[in-house]
Symmetry: C2
Subunit: 93 residues, 2 copies
């Protein structure tokens, strides 16, 4: 493998990262609307049973894709924590 | 907005999460190969100048997509930290 090959790998990694940033942007567009709904209906920002189902589902998808399920769980917890923080801000606004 | 509408939002969120898990799986398939290359060529697991460029680029993409650039940076640092950890494991294997 040459440095040119390394450069090609990095270009592919950059493309995947751009995809993920745009998916995250769309995800937060949706969860912002969920936050407004929760505020309107006085629902709590966090929903532990929903979170448990999300984590279990993503762990299984990760296994199928040969991604470490523990990393998939860390990732979704990282995203959900940010969402809950946003919901709290909406609730208190 | 009804609970049926909330359910529809959650189905869309679940689809986006499935996309991201599969992109992360593909990203780690690529970085695993980069890790092997770095081991073979005795390159260090981390590359600070590359990381700086990745972060700046993703912050700009996030701005364009109306995603908080600080969150985009936290996200990519979270992923890169995991990659460096993998590269260290490959180096020491």
């Amino acid at each position: 493998m040459t440095d040119e090959t390394l450069l090609q790998f990095r270009k592919s990694i950059d493309n995947l990262d751009a995809c993920m940033v745009h998916l995250l942007a769309e995800r937060f567009r949706l969860t912002k609307q969920v936050g407004e709904y929760k505020k309107k209906n006085q629902l709590p920002p966090a929903d532990k049973s929903r979170e448990g189902r999300q984590i279990e589902r993503l762990r299984k998808l990760a296994e199928g894709a040969e991604l470490d399920p523990d990393f998939a769980e860390k990732f979704i917890r990282f995203v959900i924590d940010e969402v809950i923080h946003h919901h709290e801000e909406i609730r208190d606004s």
